[in-house]
C-alpha cells in the first residue's frame, strides 16, 4: 500500500510538471503574439527567461526561501530536543543533516526547502514547536524529510519559479495593453489588421490575462496536493507510526492562520498557512486534512 502510493504519486508529479511547462510555453506564445506578432519568439523568451531565473534561484534556494519566510537558523544548544528529532529523521531517511530554522509565529506549521538532500533546510514555527509532543514532531518532521528525500523540495522550488514567471509575463502584458493600448502605433496597426487577425489577438490577450495564471496556479496546487499525500506516506515509512502524524495534523488544522507567511511559498508548508475558506477548493494548496487522516488511518 505504502510503496504503491509512492510510485503513483511520483508518476502524477512528472505528468503535472510537463503540463506546467506546456502552459508556460503557451503563455509565452500568447505574449509573443500580442507584442511582436511572433509566437515562437515569445516561447523562446519565456523558456529562456525562466531558465535563467531558475538557475539564479537554484544556486541557493534554502537561504532565499527561509529569508522570505522570516526563518531564524538554530543549532543544537538552542533547542536540543528539536535538533535531536531532526537528527533521528536524517539518520533513518539516510540524508545529510539539514539546516534547522524556527519561524516566530504562534500558528503551528512547518516546511522543507532546498535544492537536493545535501542543500536542504527544515523550518518549524514556534507554535508547532511548543504545541506538539515528541511523537507528533517526529511525524511532522518525517513528512518534511520525505519531501527532502523525494526531491519534492526541488520540484516545489521549480514550481515557485514557473508560477512567478507566468504571472510576471501576464501582468507585464496586462500593463502593456493598459498603457499603450490607445496610442498611435496601435491605431496604425488596427488599420492594417484583418478581422481574423484582430480576433486572434483578442483570444491571445484573454488567454494570457486569465487562463495563463489561472492554470499555472491550478497546476501548482495539484502538484503540491499530490506531494502532501506522498509525504504523509513517507513519514509513516520513516517513523513506522501513523498516530504521531495523525494527531499532529489534527492540532495543525485546528490552529490559527499564520500572520506573515510568504504567499508563493504557501504550497511548501505541511498545511496551508492561510487556511483558505473560499468558494472553491480548486485553489487549495493542500488536500483536506480529514482526507489525509483517513488515508493515514488505513496504513
Amino acid at each position: 500500500m505504502l510503496y504503491q502510493q509512492i510510485a503513483r504519486n511520483k508518476r502524477k508529479t512528472t505528468f503535472l510538471l510537463i503540463i506546467f511547462i506546456l502552459i508556460l510555453a503557451l503563455v509565452g506564445a500568447g505574449a509573443g503574439y500580442i507584442f511582436a506578432n511572433n509566437a515562437v519568439v515569445g516561447i523562446i523568451w519565456a523558456v529562456l527567461g525562466s531558465l535563467v531565473y531558475l538557475a539564479i534561484v537554484l544556486h541557493n534556494p534554502a537561504n532565499l526561501v527561509m529569508s522570505m519566510n522570516h526563518g531564524r537558523e538554530i543549532h543544537e544548544q538552542d533547542d536540543p530536543e528539536l535538533w535531536h528529532i531532526v537528527e533521528d529523521m536524517a539518520l533513518v531517511a539516510q540524508v545529510p543533516m539539514p539546516k534547522v530554522y524556527i519561524i516566530n509565529d504562534p500558528s503551528p506549521n512547518a516546511f522543507a526547502t532546498g535544492r537536493d538532500p545535501k542543500h536542504s533546510a527544515v523550518a518549524v514555527t514556534s507554535g508547532l514547536r511548543e504545541g506538539l509532543n515528541r511523537e507528533e514532531l517526529e511525524g511532522v518532521l518525517g513528512h518534511e524529510f520525505s519531501h527532502i528525500r523525494n526531491y519534492d523540495i526541488l520540484v516545489s522550488t521549480i514550481g515557485v519559479v514557473l508560477v512567478g514567471v507566468i504571472s510576471f509575463i501576464s501582468s507585464y502584458a496586462a500593463r502593456y495593453v493598459w498603457w499603450f493600448g490607445g496610442n498611435n502605433k496601435r491605431d496604425n496597426d488596427e488599420k492594417n489588421m484583418s478581422p481574423v487577425e484582430a480576433i486572434f489577438k483578442i483570444i491571445a490577450v484573454v488567454f494570457v490575462f486569465i487562463l495563463g495564471p489561472l492554470s499555472a496556479s491550478l497546476a501548482q496546487m495539484a502538484l503540491s496536493r499530490n506531494r502532501e499525500y506522498l509525504a504523509d506516506a513517507g513519514s509513516v515509512e520513516l517513523t513506522r507510526n501513523p498516530h504521531g502524524l495523525i494527531s499532529a495534523l489534527e492540532k495543525i488544522s485546528g490552529g490559527k492562520p499564520m500572520k506573515k507567511a510568504d504567499r508563493s511559498s504557501a504550497g511548501m508548508y505541511i498545511e496551508n498557512p492561510f487556511h483558505n475558506q473560499g468558494w472553491s477548493h480548486l485553489f487549495d494548496t493542500h488536500p483536506p486534512t480529514a482526507d489525509r487522516i483517513k488515508r493515514l488511518e488505513k496504513m
Binding site: E81, H84, E87, V92
Partner: protein, 185 residues
C-alpha cells in the same frame, strides 16, 4: 568471423553482469554491517551517560538503590557481550531500556530532581540515544531486508550461492518494549 564476435560480446556481457551483481551483493552486505555499527555507537554512548545519570539521581532518591544496581549491572553486562552476538546484545539492551524508563518514571516523585538542570540534560540526552537506537535498528532491519532479498531473487541468488553469502537476521522488537512501563508505589 561474425559468430566469434557475437560469442565474445555475449561473454563480455555475462562477465560484466556477474561483476555487477557480485559488487551489488557486497555493497548491500557492507551497508547492513554499517547500519549495525550505528546501533553500536549509540549503545556505547548510552553506556557512557549511565554513570552520570546514576550519580545525579542517587542523591535525590536514596531508597531506590535496587533500581540503580540493576541499571549498572546491565550496563556492565552489555560491555562484556562480544560484538558479533547481535541478538544477545539487543536483548540486554532492551532490558536496560526498560530499567532506564523506570528511573525516569521514579523522578516524577522527586520534585527537586525534576527541577535539576543536570538531570534534565541527561534525560534529553538519554531519550535522544534511545530514539537513535530505535531508528538505527529500523535502518539495520531495512538494510538486512534489502540484502536478504538479493540472496533469494534471480539472478543475484546464483552469484550469492557460488560465493557462499550468508543470510543476515533481523532484530526483533519485543512486544513489551512498545508499552509504557507501569510504576507503582
Amino acid at each position: 568471423m561474425t559468430l566469434m564476435w557475437i560469442i565474445i560480446i555475449i561473454l563480455i556481457l555475462i562477465i560484466g553482469i556477474y561483476i555487477g551483481v557480485y559488487n551489488g551483493l557486497q555493497k548491500s552486505k557492507i551497508h547492513a554491517q554499517e547500519a549495525w555499527s550505528q546501533i553500536d555507537v549509540q549503545l556505547k554512548r548510552r553506556n557512557d551517560l549511565i554513570p552520570n545519570l546514576v550519580e545525579t539521581v542517587k542523591g535525590y532518591a536514596k531508597h531506590e538503590s535496587e533500581t540503580f544496581e540493576k541499571v549498572v549491572q546491565l550496563r556492565n553486562q552489555l560491555t562484556q557481550i562480544p560484538a558479533s552476538d547481535h541478538t544477545e546484545k539487543m536483548k540486554v539492551s532492551d532490558e536496560l531500556t526498560n530499567s532506564l524508563k523506570t528511573i525516569f518514571a521514579l523522578s516524577e516523585n522527586y520534585p527537586n530532581l525534576k527541577a535539576n538542570q543536570n538531570f534534565l540534560n541527561l534525560q534529553e540526552e538519554l531519550t535522544n540515544t534511545e530514539n537513535k537506537i530505535a531508528y538505527s535498528r529500523q535502518l539495520y532491519n531495512s538494510s538486512v531486508a534489502f540484502y536478504d532479498e538479493k540472496l533469494v531473487t534471480f539472478p543475484s541468488n546464483i552469484v550469492a550461492n557460488l560465493h557462499h553469502f550468508q543470510k543476515m537476521d533481523y532484530l526483533e522488537t519485543p512486544a513489551t518494549e512498545k508499552e509504557v512501563p507501569q510504576v507503582k508505589f
